[in-house]
């Protein structure tokens, strides 16, 4: 691999990423290395070829890249308000299952900002949901008998008060 030129008009290096369903994405290096996973691969010398991302599909990868580009373009990276506005806009049109895909991708790609923002968003989504709704959303199996569950609810009476959305059936 040729070493970068030491002058002012150095052309920006691009990294090539491939999703697990075969789509190719060209991303500026400065944006791509916001993912610590990708940065480590680049440091290990993989930047010349295509970086395969086994755990991320094309749709999710496209959304992650959009997020990273917006974050890299922030006028004031230390401003919490700017970041919050960006996150609010980014998540405004995302369905729950997309949130799960994004948080998995952020975890795999080791992008702390996106992981924190997505876990926060998911928590906001589920905070007033009923127990059975949360089970469905995360695919959690109920291994309590009806009697055990009733006893548990009584024990946690303080938690099952007003403000809880009813089951979506």
């Amino acid at each position: 691999m040729a070493s970068p030129q030491e002058n002012d008009s150095k052309p920006e290096t691009t990294i090539t990423l491939r999703s697990n369903d075969g789509e190719i994405f060209e991303v500026p290096e400065t944006v791509a290395v916001l993912s610590v996973t990708i940065k480590n691969m680049v440091d290990d010398g993989c930047a010349g070829g295509i970086i395969p991302l086994e755990e991320v599909d094309a749709e999710t990868l496209s959304q992650v890249i959009t997020y990273l580009k917006k974050h890299a373009a922030l006028l004031d990276p230390s401003s919490e308000t700017e970041k919050d506005e960006l996150d609010a806009e980014f998540f405004s049109d995302k369905e729950f299952n997309s949130l799960l895909d994004i948080v998995n991708a952020a975890n795999y790609l080791n992008i702390k900002e996106l992981q924190d923002a997505s876990t926060k968003q998911i928590a906001k989504f589920i905070r007033n949901k009923s127990v059975s709704t949360v089970r469905k959303l995360f695919g959690i199996e109920n291994d309590y008998t009806p009697e055990e569950e009733e006893a548990l609810r009584r024990e946690h009476q303080w938690a099952h008060e007003d403000g809880v959305e009813s089951d979506e059936d």
Binding site: V103, N104, N107, T119, A123, I126, F138, E149, L152, R153
Partner: protein
């Protein structure tokens, strides 16, 4: 599961306490995970979960909590049945309460778990003595401590015994111990709850120095179990007036209350120590809008401009606006709130029942 366990735990740690309580009902695995001390601690440490709530001992000796602290808010009466008198203080979501029998009960106002604290084995006879309490956390041993400072009633009994006894209870260990008598004569300070901040419980006391009639703040360090001294404001003369120490917005706060009971234009001076330990950082403001009450005890801020106070004379909750210098009754559940005592607390999953495995 759709996503790895560690991500799920991260998500659950961002939920309010009641949501976590419901999620303990998801499955046996989640009941276990969401009850571990590690989870409870990481949940407590989330900045988003440290929003301030208010606990009030209402005029009918019941307990109410307020999560959205502002004028015109609503409260929730919690199902803790007793004749409650005093809210001593709170730490990490645990609140120490005193009932009419002077029994100390540690509660979590959200999960409603409670634990009665035994009396110190060397406790002075209650009819012949007075006690003051403080409650805080000792980081060096990761335990919560209750401090009881007691002294004999020298008017009626034991006129020659001016000792101030100090007993400490380690909540997790469940053990009382008596430490060396206090070098300060805390009996002459107005009997009130110790103000706990920076890992120390603070009371006003006369200076130990001969011929020095100013007062100092005696700070009982919970980890080292000794008294340090913090300077009072420079412009305070302690022989007139009746002072009280509280914590306001995480800072030591001193109020001069009950000074001008019979004057037309009652006012209260309030000092806040913005930098702990620094005498010059005491800044004063005066509530000077002419009101009939006395003995104002600040509880907490509402935003930057308003302060919630308890008026101990009228047993009423008030809101003071710093910019407008106005004092109004605080409206809770549609009417003026009448309270005996109160304190702030954060929501947490911490249980006061440390003895149970």
């Amino acid at each position: 599961m759709a996503i790895p366990e560690e991500l799920m735990i991260d998500i659950f740690s961002r939920l309010p306490v009641k949501s976590v309580g419901r999620c303990r009902c998801l499955s046996k695995l989640w009941r276990e995970i969401l009850s571990t001390p590690q989870f409870i601690k990481s949940h407590l440490n989330r900045k988003t979960n440290r929003q301030q709530n208010l606990l009030l001992v209402a005029a009918l000796n019941t307990i109410h909590t307020i999560s959205d602290v502002k004028n015109g808010t609503v409260s929730r009466k919690i199902q803790l049945i007793d004749e409650w008198e005093e809210a001593i203080g709170s730490c990490d979501g645990l609140v120490l309460l005193l009932n009419e029998k002077s029994e100390k009960i540690l509660v979590n106002p959200i999960t409603l778990q409670k634990e009665k604290i035994p009396d110190p084995p060397l406790a002075l006879n209650k009819t012949e003595s007075h006690s003051m309490h403080g409650f805080g956390y000792d980081g060096s041993i990761d335990d919560y401590k209750i401090v009881v400072v007691s002294y004999y009633d020298t008017d009626e009994y034991y006129p020659d015994n001016f000792d101030t006894f100090v007993d400490i209870y380690c909540v997790k260990k469940g053990v009382w111990k008596r430490v060396d008598n206090s070098p300060y004569d805390l009996s002459s300070a107005r009997r009130c709850t110790g103000a706990c901040v920076r890992g120390a419980v603070h009371w006003l006391a006369p200076s130990k120095k001969q011929g020095d009639y100013r007062a100092v703040i005696a700070a009982f360090d919970l980890a080292r179990e000794v008294f340090d001294e913090i300077p009072v404001p420079n412009d305070v003369s302690m022989d007139s007036g009746c002072y009280q120490l509280v914590v306001l917005g995480g800072c030591l706060c001193m109020t001069d209350a009950g000074r001008s009971l019979h004057q037309d234009n009652n006012k209260t001076d309030i000092w806040i120590m913005h930098e702990y330990g620094l005498a010059e950082s005491w800044t004063k403001f005066t509530i000077d809008c002419g009101y009939e009450w006395s003995m104002l005890k600040p509880l907490c801020y509402i935003g930057d401009e308003e302060i919630v106070l308890i008026c101990e004379g009228g047993e009423v909750l008030l809101v003071y606006n710093l910019n407008e210098n106005t004092l109004k009754n605080m409206v809770v559940d549609g009417a003026s709130a009448y309270v005996l005592d109160g304190c702030v607390f954060v929501e947490s999953l911490l249980s006061p029942c440390f003895g149970m495995s």
